[in-house]
Point group: C2
Chain length 390, copies 2
């Protein structure tokens, strides 16, 4: 079934806000088996919204609007969509009561503009907003569904998951299943080449997408029933995992930092970090994971050479002989962090991250040259990386 | 003059890639005085691209396409646009020669699919691609301009700046000037309320947009000549700065971290950091700025209490009496970092950043409660913050 997404808002048209909602919705609609064929952005302008919905109903089964549901004069999605479809707005008592409570909590009078949000399109299903005041709207007309969602992602995303997704699952005429395989240590071209014909098939379908520092392989399968879809999807996932081997670090939504924290918890290990060129980024990523305090005590950003010596006991002779951009220095840093952080495992990172040239001390190094050392109580391993365009 | 942006690519439709190009182009087109009225995303599908261009030419003066210029079969923007406009593709000798060189460097045969990129639309201006193989295309037909740009931002952005912007500046019938005022320490609603009628006017126009941790006020003015536009813009900027006072930390493209590094360089000061709840994020932000090694030596992520005591000499009595989530602890951390980092100024950050609950030690704290201490050789200042929805 064909789907399209129409985003409403001057802030999107003018580029003040990057449109992340469409990527979110597109991914979720695709996972439910809908083919997203168009995405459109129009401003807070009656004529343009009107034209957008008139065009959309001629070509799509599912039409999802985002934005323009708020209380101000500029917010007019609901009104214009109703008009274009020849439907009325009606006052929704339960929405009004909820709204009055929310407004009271914020000390706002429940009259005038804010109460505009109590009106919904006649015959619609009202979608509860747990994180804001504007309710969403889901309207079925024959074999078409029109959904109106608020613009802020923290309101839109739970509303989609809780209200829209269950409806669209039963509305769709296909059963489907999707999975995400997470890959680290290989670039996109290498993953693409390795997987060859396992990618871009029709059913099951697999495609790549690139996050900072990782590649995700998304697998999608359709079946005559859920069981078949699941089987096709799982078989394809296993084939892909067999090719990529240990470069696969996980499946699903859990990212690299979460996976690392989870593994450390499981193995009851404490991690410490010593970072030169990354300046604390690894520590920040790890500590951003909920519950990381169970596995992380200490990290040091040792930007200056004297800090490497002082806080991490990196030997002067090592620095003199190899410079701080070297494999021995990364190893010493990891050992130093292990000891200073009273940890079970530690990482030491030194290199030329850029921006700026690779002039450092007396030497010149290529930007992207990085040494990463890992130490535990028994040994130290250092690997050299040459990161290209990231 | 009316502008619209049409992005081509299945990866956008399926949500694998967030469409950052449209925000970039929209902002730049607005700064040049063009009103962006529509943004559309279509897939790698001849019919949909064809329909998009046919609709666009009926309503916009400037039409910018992104994506679909590469060598593969899926890439067809150029071909379909030419067809829709009744124009031919012609072999461009200079492009072909440049392409052959680029392909040779990568060890690719200069035949077949890659050489498809040597064809351009008859009568167009060819836009040089300094970061890739596909040239861009700029086509003027009467009072309309159609621009075709490659999808990767690192190819698109310089091509827009060097090739498209100069053309559109002289094509536009208005002179305009824009500026960005950067604000930190105030939320968007507060900025909006403070500025009142200085916002959302017609000419000069000012609008807000929100980055992580800061609010930007973008000012835009039109004039009969450049001089008038500049004067209107500057006058409005000064009015806004007068209202926001010291919450304005800069103007233009330089962000908060860059501003901090610049100020430190100017004042010849060294910064050190001690971070508990932020776990190294401040150090990472500072060290990501080119040239930061001149002002930053040392940062510590002191997630565990023993690290606060050991690496930063935070007194046991302070921790016992006030806990580590306290103003005295933040102050001690800043002092400790000042000393351990041999710095002139230091920051100590402790609090409950979330995610997860605010249970910590024996106490329970609200998520978002953060103490930030700043120390120099003479004094220590600590401020308490209660960060809400960020």
């Amino acid at each position: 079934m064909r789907a399209e997404i129409i985003s409403v808002g001057d802030e999107l048209l003018r580029g003040y806000t990057v449109n992340t909602n469409t990527a979110y919705l597109a991914k979720n609609l695709a996972d439910l088996g809908y083919d997203v064929n168009f995405q459109t952005v129009v401003g807070d302008c009656e004529k343009d919204i009107f034209d957008a919905i008139r065009i959309a109903v001629t070509r799509s089964h599912v039409i999802v609007f985002t934005g323009g549901l708020g209380p101000t004069e500029d917010d007019m999605t609901k009104e214009v969509v109703a008009k274009a479809l020849g439907l009325k707005l009606v006052y929704d008592q339960p929405t009004a009561e909820k709204l009055e409570k929310q407004l009271a909590q914020r000390g706002i009078e429940p009259t005038g503009a804010p109460m505009k949000q109590a009106y919904v399109i006649d015959g619609c299903m009202v979608l509860r907003n747990d994180n804001g005041t504007a309710p969403g709207i889901l309207l079925q007309k024959g074999n078409q569904v029109i959904v109106l969602l608020p613009g802020p992602p923290r309101e839109l995303e739970p509303m989609f998951q809780n209200g829209v997704k269950p409806f669209l699952m039963s509305f769709s005429d296909v059963c489907c299943e999707s999975a995400t395989i997470r890959v680290v240590g290989l670039g996109e071209p290498t993953v693409e080449q390795s997987l060859g014909e396992l990618l871009y098939g029709v059913n099951p379908h697999a495609a790549l997408y690139v996050n900072t520092g990782e590649v995700l392989v998304r697998v999608f399968a359709r079946g005559t029933d859920q069981e078949e879809a699941r089987r096709l999807c799982r078989e394809h996932v296993e084939k892909i995992k067999a090719v990529l081997g240990s470069y696969v670090y996980g499946e699903g939504d859990r990212d690299l930092a979460e996976t690392v924290v989870e593994l450390l918890k499981e193995k009851k290990l404490h991690l410490a970090t010593a970072e030169s060129c990354t300046g604390g980024l690894v520590a920040a990523k790890v500590t951003a994971v909920a519950g990381s305090s169970a596995v992380f005590d200490y990290g040091v950003a040792c930007y200056a050479d004297w800090v490497k010596k002082h806080a991490l006991s990196v030997g002067s002779s090592v620095v003199k002989k190899y410079t701080t951009v070297s494999s021995p220095c990364a190893g010493e840093m990891a050992k130093g962090a292990l000891s200073a952080g009273k940890a079970d495992i530690a990482v030491g990172i030194t290199g030329i991250a850029g921006p700026g040239s690779g002039d450092y001390g007396d030497g010149h190094f290529p930007v992207g040259l990085v040494f990463i050392g890992v130490a535990d109580k028994k040994k130290v391993v250092v690997k050299k990386f040459t990161f290209g365009d990231l």
